[in-house]
């Protein structure tokens, strides 16, 4: 069965490009435009992995991550932060809050992101 990825990303263009690429790689895609919708969709559909942006409307990505890790039904789902922030304090904070990895959008090609996801899911 295809693995399910939830993309939490407010930028329409980025979401579209990510989704295209992940579908082409054989994943099933779920999208959320902000943190609230992301948490809701996580609880409903239990994805295999979450791509999480940080600068999001309403709730900041770090807060979303904190809530994921507090929720026993969600905490085991791997979260990859995919953001254009990337100062060392932000990276350290993300990892400390329990993110599996921190990818800076501008420095990763779509293929590299797909590879990263496959690695995390041991595919």
């Amino acid at each position: 069965m295809a693995k399910k990825i939830l993309i939490i990303e407010d930028e329409k263009t980025l979401r579209f490009l990510l989704a295209q690429s992940l579908i082409a790689a054989g994943f099933e895609i779920e999208e959320a435009v902000d943190g609230e919708e992301g948490l809701k969709k996580m609880r409903e559909n239990k994805p295999d992995l979450v791509l999480l942006d940080l600068i999001l409307p309403t709730i900041h990505g770090f807060e979303v991550l904190t809530q994921i890790k507090k929720d026993s039904s969600l905490e085991s789902i791997p979260v990859l932060i995919l953001s254009n922030l990337g100062q060392k304090e932000e990276i350290e904070k993300g990892l400390k809050l329990g993110a599996t990895d921190f990818l800076i959008k501008a420095h990763f090609s779509l293929d590299e992101i797909v590879e990263k996801i496959k690695k995390v899911l041991s595919l």
């Binding site: 930028e11 263009t13 980025l14 490009l17 990510l18 295209q20 690429s21 082409a24 254009n84 922030l85 100062q87 060392k88 800076i104 959008k105 501008a106 420095h107 090609s109 779509l110 293929d111």
Partner: protein
Amino acid sequence: MKNDIFSKKIISPEKALIVIDNLNDGLMVFDEKKKLCFINLSAQRMFGVNREILGIDIEEMTNYPGLKEIFFLLGKEIKELDKKELEINKDMVLEVTSLSLFKEEEKLGYLVILHDITREKTIEKMKTDFVSLSAHQLRTPLSAINWALDTLLKERLGKLNDVQKKMLEQAKESNQRMLILVKDLLDVVKIEEGKYLGKLVPSDFLKIVQDVIKDYQEEIRKKEIQFEIQLPSKKLPKVKVDPEKISSVVQNLIDNAIRYNLRGGIMVISLNFDQNNLFFSVSDSGIGIPKEDQKNIFSKFFRASNASKLETEGNGLGLFVSKNIIEAHGGKIWFESEEGRGTTFYFSLPLK
């Protein structure tokens, strides 16, 4: 010669006092027993005190907000300081200078000069915040362009003809350059904020170098560079570095050695170590750095005249950033170059 300006009545002591009181800088004088014997108006205003404070011992300064911080900086002994930055509180940053006062051989006491740099600091912070914010904002559309071009170039959405492919490749290359510029700008801002290095971890330096070379295989082949790597007979010891930052220095130096080399030129990378340091060098047989440009080569945004003529690419930040990274590790970076013959860049990293 003693008290010349007073004895010749150029200025009376009363007038001199008014001048001193009205200086923008705060002045405090301690006598040889380290008791406060003078404080000018500016200094009184900085800390909300008046002349009644005169006569207190330096250690009693801990009873006054603001002066307390000054005391902690100066210490009981009243250290000599040259323009030391001190944040008194959120709204006041001072530059503190202190020196001993002598009359002939006899020590009279100590002078402390307080220069208010709050405004400069605020502007500096605004500039930093502005650059960080705009750099982050720039990255989002740049990522979108990058990914869109990626998708098209993968031909997932349909076959491209050769011209289309070439055009998209060039667009991607330009976009990459923009991404590098944004990254370098962010690095410069971080360097200027003084918070740059990540965690130092014992790292395999040879592997860092090899990984960078791997990324340049294609360029080396395209430009027909004759490439050689020289290693010591003994295994390199691990070195404590921020691997990502050191990797970007190596990348920058190798990139320059290829970019400013001639077609079919030579590039030699050499690694070595002694008891105290690890050494890296990369030589090329390229255009070299003109003599008059050599002193500026590590300056921000500087590019050698022959380099900018030859290549439109390059933003003049690479060596500035590299120098800062190496020095932040306690290492040194230097070069030898002759115009038209080639350049060798060296750096060392301490092993202890």
